[in-house]
Amino acid sequence: MTRLAGGLIDRSRTLNFSFDGKRYQGHPGDTLASALLANGVRLVGRSFKYHRPRGVLSAGSEEPNAIVELRSGARQEPNTRATVVELFEGLQARSQNRWPSLGFDALAINDLLSPFLTAGFYYKTFMWPKGFWEKLYEPAIRRAAGLGRLSMQADPDIYDKGFLHCDLLVIGGGAAGLAAALTAARGGARVILADEDFRLGGQLLSETGTLDGGQATNWISALEAEFESLPNIRVMRRTTVFGVYDHGIYGAVESVSDHFPEANGCVRQTLWRITAKRAILAAGATERPIAFADNDRPGIMLAGAMRAYANRWAACPSETVAVFTNNDDGHHTARDLAAKGVQIAAVIDARPEAKARGDYRLIAGGMVTGSRGRLGLKSIKVQENGRSEWIECGALGVSGGWNPNVHLFSHHRGRPVWNEPLQAFLPGEEGALGLIPAGAAAGHFSTADALRSGAQAAQRAMDELGIAASLPDLPRAEEADYTVAHVFHVPGKKRAWVDFQNDVTVKDIKLAHAENMGPVEHLKRYTTLGMATDQGKTSNVTGLAVMAELTGRSIPETGTTIFRPPYTPVTLSVLGGGDVGRHFRPRRLTPTHHWAKAQGAVFVEVGQWMRAQYFARAGETHWRQSVDREARAVRGAVGLCDVTTLGKIDVQGADVGEFLNRLYCNMMATLKVGRVRYGLMLREDGFAYDDGTCARLAEDHCVVTTTTANAGLVYRNMEFARQCLWPELDVQLISTTDAWAQIAVAGPKSRALLARIVDGFDLSNEAFPFMACAELTVCDGLRARLFRISFSGELAYEVAVPARYGHALIERLMELGADLGATPYGTEALGVLRIEKGHAAGPELNGQATAAMVGLGSMVSQKKDSVGAVMSRREGLAGDRRRLVGLRAVDPAGKVVSGSHLFAEDAPRKFDTDQGWITSACYSPHVGSMIGLGFLENGDERLGEVIVAANPLEGESARLRVVPAHFVDPEGARLRE
């Protein structure tokens, strides 16, 4: 069959496309499905389980059969519905789930094996032997079944996210949606009209009925022009509202460039988060088929779809068609097709009282009981009054009635209610807040009713929002009746398909009933009815009706069918939007990042931060060489390390001392101006939480630091304490982590180096001793803060300048310190230096350690209350006798591996003899061997003892000597020099 006359396609232009490698032509306005039908292609796919030949069933997003793979290379996209793919020049499509070809599919053998492949087959068959499921059965089944193939390449396209707000969101641009949008837009409300199609009009585009005596498209065009002229309405074509969420939030995907041959740098799809005060569900209705024997042959389609293809797309699958219906709508199809010159072989209406609506043969009270044609329909078997005949036809339109699209309504617990005259579920009383159904979605099937209900729904919404909106003059339209008989399937012995996409037949439902899987929820899971990507849009109600019949109950007694988001499949990429790869989360760079990069730094991710891990120099072939050199430079001369990433929180107010006293377990209120104190925070459950320093710059001004990892969390907790626990205290907080660049200047020559940048500031030990702090200027007037604190155990300072001067400061320090041996060091050397000194860090403060365990038990003040103080004294925590110790391999060449568990030398290595674990380990250039820190049972009393560290993951163990947890300068003399 070729093209019919008329239609809403642009015949002045031709589009070339291919299907399974064969070239075809279509026109702008075509979908892939309509273009295939116009080219006489009926066979477009194979079914999921039985590999049955399949053709186009529908003309919309409900399509279960015409599932194809689009494009190629990294843009290959599986499982797209040919019925909603807008044709473009050069489109490549391929059929799926067939091998070696669509016409001859080896796995069609499954169809012959169907007596064994009924519902529950997998559950019953692949139970034993137990281990076979994962290794053998599942991989084999997955290969045989399934849909399209992934490209296995990264998605090269660009996706975006956006936010929209409106008074009224109109979902669906058919008669009801257009009338609703018009009413609200003229009333001055902010309106968004979203429709999944590329052309507004909905079902109007598929009908020949007139509006005000003219073509429906004339009315639509006038409306589009009016919308264009109004500033308060946004029309979104190719936009599917896929989900309803709390508080009037709707998820929508706009297909921006899917209909272009190449995205050309344009966004492919946009995820919209629409916040709407009210919404109108004008999503229309979906036709359902009638199940009869062999009702899945290519050429058998929904009668409404057949009409849509003829009227909108000027395409018909065959020159001779028949219609099988249980309602009046089927007759419209016959009438419209006849008017287009298609030969109507017969209209079979299951209702004995049916009347013909045109010049065609009517078989009233008849049923279609079978079909022939392996790769495409050739004839149908019709039974009427006990006699049967075969009628030849290349296509059959089937109409089992229309199901209102209640999907979005039920996303918020809205239970649809059965309507007996319409034989369909309608939206009930309670659904999503502010979502008003209208048009066919609310059961108003005639055009006139749909227009009216859309306008009224909008007026109701406007009333609720206090916006005056009058009903517009609506065009005169068809008021046809719709009556439907309760006919869901034709009894028979052969298989009759209910769910085309998942290959579920009436027989399967019978089996589920026989095996006591009667409740809808069980039926669904046992047979997989409605669980394919189409979510059972054409099958759920029919499945329910068949089950109702089997159990002798009514449909509402049997259950309802509700839907979850998304309404139609949503590309995972669009949910990710632009947040992929490097954009998955923000990447924070330190003020010296670009300088460090130029110095050959290797970076490491620390939370969101990129920190210099080590600075490889020419000739260094292993990271250890760089790290050892950097650590030695700090101990022997002076090193520079960017420590900006440590959290900095500025605390100001009259009650600063009291506030910090309550947050840190040690005394802070007594800290004098110009001094710094180490502080340990506990969690309220008593475990050690975070540590840092507190510098008192003024009586009412402190700057506290946190670890890099906890910067955000500690700030959040401090705000919690300030606002929720002690709002009566006069304290204000702000995070200044990003405002200050802070550089550690560490090593015996640090004072000499700093003396070269400070502006007349006395750095002598007497004037500026260990744990002093000051505000000063450096480099001729640059505002700075100086802290004499040390993480390395050497004479050390941290100097902070406004972040934008960080780069310049490190350059200046390197330049002025060249003769002193100034060396930049990274996080690896930083780690080595702190392990050598026995300072606890992240691996020790891991949320399972108490203050006592890290050797800071005496810091927890008994004289005051602070967060975690009470719970730190509870028996379980106070009784923990593991203590932080230093560990050294007995064999100087031996390995110390962090994560290893510690055991007494002769003890069996079991859970109940476990005495602790190694938290941190490194090679110490100072000691000349590997060293570690770890928590050991009674560790403080076992210095000198030899224990075993077991590393069962790698099957290793090592003998270690327990030593004090500081390998360098145990007296701390260097700090105070």
Binding site: D685, G712, R716, E719, Q723, C724, R873
Partner: protein, 96 residues
């Protein structure tokens, strides 16, 4: 979800960090004789009712206010929101 911020108007819930039961505001008195038991309840026991619940939300991507939001956990309806700091300030607190 939208949260009616008392200072900033309706804000998207994505801007907030959730903590939970607003009873965390009522930190026990550490000097009371049964302080340990009271803290044990405070730290480990939370109400999680199906229905109206008062919860702490932190406007982390906003003005950094802690809010007490009254919300129906069944319908997700938000019934009100107030600044958390006003909750302890507006009532007499024992022991402080």
């Amino acid at each position: 979800m939208l949260i009616p911020h008392p200072l900033l108007g309706p804000r998207d819930a994505q801007e907030f960090t959730y903590l939970g039961d607003a009873r965390l505001i009522d930190r026990p008195d550490s000097s009371a004789p049964d302080a340990e038991a009271a803290f044990c309840d405070y730290v480990f026991l939370r109400d999680n009712p199906a229905g109206v619940h008062r919860e702490l939300w932190f406007h982390e991507q906003g003005d950094r206010s802690w809010l007490v939001v009254t919300r129906d956990t069944v319908t997700h309806e938000v019934l009100g929101a107030e600044l958390a700091r006003n909750v302890p300030l507006s009532r007499t607190r024992c022991g402080k």
